[in-house]
């Protein structure tokens, strides 16, 4: 059995086997593991009686349903206009310096992935970022430093 077999079975039990359940199931796996591995997608395809390509095609449509390995904490820095105007570049730089990775990469200990994303809906409190589901707004490099330091201490 593949690593997330039990989780997927639970999700299927909870949401059902029709195609309408595909998104919640994919989201459930991402919530646990930050990304979707090929075996996750085939397990899900099997459960929902879809082709593997259909599940892959659906997953890759959505920016938050990653199909490449991601760290435990996925940082998404908003790159859309207001955040860009209000210092997104500095924020990204601060993150890159602290995590010692470039945008798009994952730290070696698989703890953090740093990504840029489209408008998060915090334009009035820009710049903003998400760490997993949690938004952080009105960022400054100092603030970013404190936030990341806290996450670094988390397990």
């Amino acid at each position: 059995m593949s690593p997330n077999g039990n989780l997927i079975r639970e999700l299927v039990e909870k949401y059902g086997r029709s195609r309408t359940s595909l998104m919640p199931i994919l989201q459930g796996v991402v919530e646990r593991q930050s990304f979707l591995a090929d075996y996750d997608l085939t397990d899900i395809a099997k459960e929902l009686d879809l082709s593997a390509a259909q599940v892959y095609g659906t997953a890759t449509f959505y920016s938050f349903l990653d199909t490449v390995p991601r760290g435990k904490y996925v940082i998404r820095v908003c790159k859309t206009i207001t955040c860009d105007m209000h210092g997104k570049k500095l924020i990204l730089q601060a993150l890159e310096n602290m995590l010692k990775i470039k945008s798009g990469e994952t730290t070696q200990n698989k703890k953090f992935t740093l990504l840029e994303t489209n408008c998060l809906g915090w334009c009035h409190k820009s710049p903003a970022m998400l760490i997993n589901d949690q938004p952080y707004t009105e960022l400054t490099p100092e603030k970013v430093h404190d936030i990341i330091a806290e996450y670094m201490n988390k397990s």
Partner: protein, 597 residues
């Protein structure tokens, strides 16, 4: 009957039934609206936007393929606005497209190219986006090449794979500028559930999905004086080849095809129909033997219903999708592979040629046959039984390359041995044909009488596209040795297109169907609609090919497989008896369960 409505297209009143699209209404009025993503066999996508027209009262243009006509609607298909928009759209498609046409297999037979020339593109309105794209080409497969750099993302292939074949080996992946047609995790086609049926190839408007062609190696073999090159031609080739050489659909060109093959330089021009007849003998006996073991011997290890095994797309599909039903497949090889195995044994012996010097070529309406020939189990002659598989299209290319004026060729006859055939073999090319041919023979074996249908035409099993056909044949007054079949109602079912096949087999799997004999052909309409047939394809063209097949059947002097004299001869001289040891060795095969995911 649906209600009618009248709309005006370019000032012409057109009356059409409700639910007719503007595009269909325009075609009815002989007004041609260009289109790309639209295909008669598939549901409407409305994504390429080439078919936009102006409709009065609408601020935007509308896609005529997707917009239903309405009463009093005024449509304009050729305004300046429309022409500029269409040109822009084609230019946009070209800007993402590797338009290196002279190096493309579809050069001269490409819908995008036609449109581009019609619209006088070439002034490079927009930037070339191709250099910035990381397009990949998948050529790791024996049958099909997928070249993303030529893809215009019309999704015809995706719809084909899903709607007609229920395979969905291909789907759309990613979005925005990254959007592409992809397999699971962008794996090569040979690693995924693709059946090699080639239906996507038939419908791809560009060179993004093409067959892997073996034209040059076949020429090489012909030129090599040390080689004896044998060619076999499948039943469905002779009724479609003409289309690729300037003739209208539905023309029977058997004689011209044979003449052409001889002029191309093949040493022996033979007929797959011969092994189609042989298949009927073997498969008919296999069915009767299975029936006996179940009904008389009460042998529970024997699987019924038995399904046909001539269609390699179907074989790969069942290996992936219903591996637990593999025992239900007839163990008979397809006629192509029977032919290949006999070419390098029986034929070699009879003609006194060393099999190692034989190159065995087949011409097939099919792309999956290329994969089939490459299967490791298809070497029972001790050599690769079929060396090269050409599609109908590839043969047409060779005929053109050789400078033959196909239409003025005389009619010539197949060589012997393994060149004689019957009407029963010809109808292998259409859905329902294998069933009908098998019944013509099996019924006679069991009862000693011809099937009780006028002119041997077993119309109840003649399959129809887009439909699963069920029929029951009652067996009466059997010969003594077949007494256990007295009064048995033989339940037959015929399906074409893998989506229909899937439904039938699901019923078998669930135990909700009690058939005896199932005929499946992977392609819509059967082999006549195969993935190696001339492009374009649509229901009308396939209907004409089908009529031609039945016409050819009716015109044959012999119409039952067991009456083929060469078949009788091969059993006498070489094989012994049906299902005998030699048959088992050369004519039967086994299957491999494959992963669906």
């Amino acid at each position: 009957m649906a209600n009618k409505l009248t709309l005006q297209i370019d000032g012409i009143d057109v009356t059409v039934p409700e639910d007719t699209t503007i595009l269909a209404a325009a075609r009815k009025a002989n007004i041609h609206i260009p289109s790309l993503c639209y295909h008669e066999d598939l549901c409407v996508a409305g994504n390429c936007r080439v078919c936009v027209v102006e409709v009065s009262g609408s601020k935007t243009l509308v896609a005529s393929c997707a917009m239903p006509a309405s009463e009093g609607m005024q449509v304009f298909t050729n305004t300046g606005k429309v022409r500029l928009a269409r040109k822009h759209i084609v230019e946009l498609l070209l800007s993402e497209h590797n338009a290196d046409c002279t190096k493309c297999y579809k050069n001269g037979n490409c819908e995008l190219q036609f449109l581009a020339s019609e619209m006088l593109t070439g002034d490079h309105l927009f930037l070339d986006l191709v250099p910035g794209k990381k397009y990949t080409i998948d050529r790791f497969n024996s049958a099909i090449i997928k070249d993303d750099s030529r893809c215009i993302r019309c999704q015809r292939c995706v719809r084909t794979c899903e709607e007609l074949q229920s395979v969905s080996a291909l789907d759309v992946a990613y979005k925005g500028d990254k959007m592409k047609i992809s397999t699971f995790f962008e794996n090569p086609l040979f690693e995924v559930v693709c059946t090699n049926c080639g239906q996507c190839v038939n419908r791809c408007p560009t060179g993004a999905l093409i067959e892997k062609n073996y034209v040059d190696p076949v020429w090489e073999a012909i030129y090599d004086k040390t080689k004896h090159v044998v060619v076999q031609t499948a039943p469905a080739v002779r009724i479609a080849l003409g289309e690729a050489l300037g003739l209208p659909p539905g023309k029977i060109v058997t004689g011209k095809m044979v003449a052409a093959l001889k002029r191309l330089g093949f040493d022996s021009v033979l007929d797959t129909d011969f092994t189609a007849d042989l298949t009927i003998i073997e498969e008919g006996h296999e069915l009767l033997s299975r029936l006996k073991r179940v009904l008389v011997d009460k042998d529970t290890t024997v699987a019924l219903p038995m399904t046909t095994s001539c269609s390699p797309g179907w074989i790969k599909f069942i290996e992936h999708t219903f591996p637990e039903l593999l025992p239900n497949l007839s163990s008979c090889k397809s006629p192509q592979q029977m032919f290949g195995a006999l070419t390098k044994t029986y034929y070699a012996q009879k003609r006194g040629v060393d099999p190692k010097n034989i190159i065995s070529v087949s011409v097939m309406p099919c792309t999956a046959k290329k994969f089939e020939a490459d299967r490791p189990e298809m070497r029972s002659s001790g050599y690769k039984d079929v060396d090269y598989v050409l599609t109908t299209r590839e043969l047409a290319i060779m005929i053109k390359q050789a400078g033959l004026d196909f239409q003025s060729l005389p009619n010539e006859s197949f060589d012997s041995i393994m060149g004689s055939s019957t009407g029963a073999a010809v109808i292998f090319g259409t859905t329902g044909g294998v069933m009908e041919a098998a019944l013509r023979t099996a019924y006679e074996i069991v009862t000693g009488r011809e099937v009780p249908f006028e002119k041997l035409n077993i119309t109840p099993v003649r399959g129809t596209e887009g439909e699963v056909r069920e029929a029951t044949i009652k067996i009466e007054k059997t010969k003594p040795e077949w007494k256990f079949l007295e009064g048995v109602e033989l339940k037959c079912v015929v399906a074409n297109g893998l989506a229909h096949a899937k439904r039938v087999m699901q019923n078998v799997k669930d135990g909700t169907a009690n058939y005896h004999f199932i005929e499946i052909m992977a392609c819509p309409g059967g082999c006549l609609g195969g993935g190696g047939q001339p492009i374009p394809t649509n229901p009308e063209i396939r209907a004409k090919r089908k009529s031609a097949i039945y016409e050819e059947d009716m015109g044959m002097p012999i119409r039952k497989s067991h009456e083929n004299p060469e078949v009788a001869e091969i059993y006498k001289d070489f094989l012994g008896e049906p299902l005998g040891h030699k048959s088992h060795e050369l004519l039967h095969t086994h299957y491999t369960p494959r992963k669906r995911y």
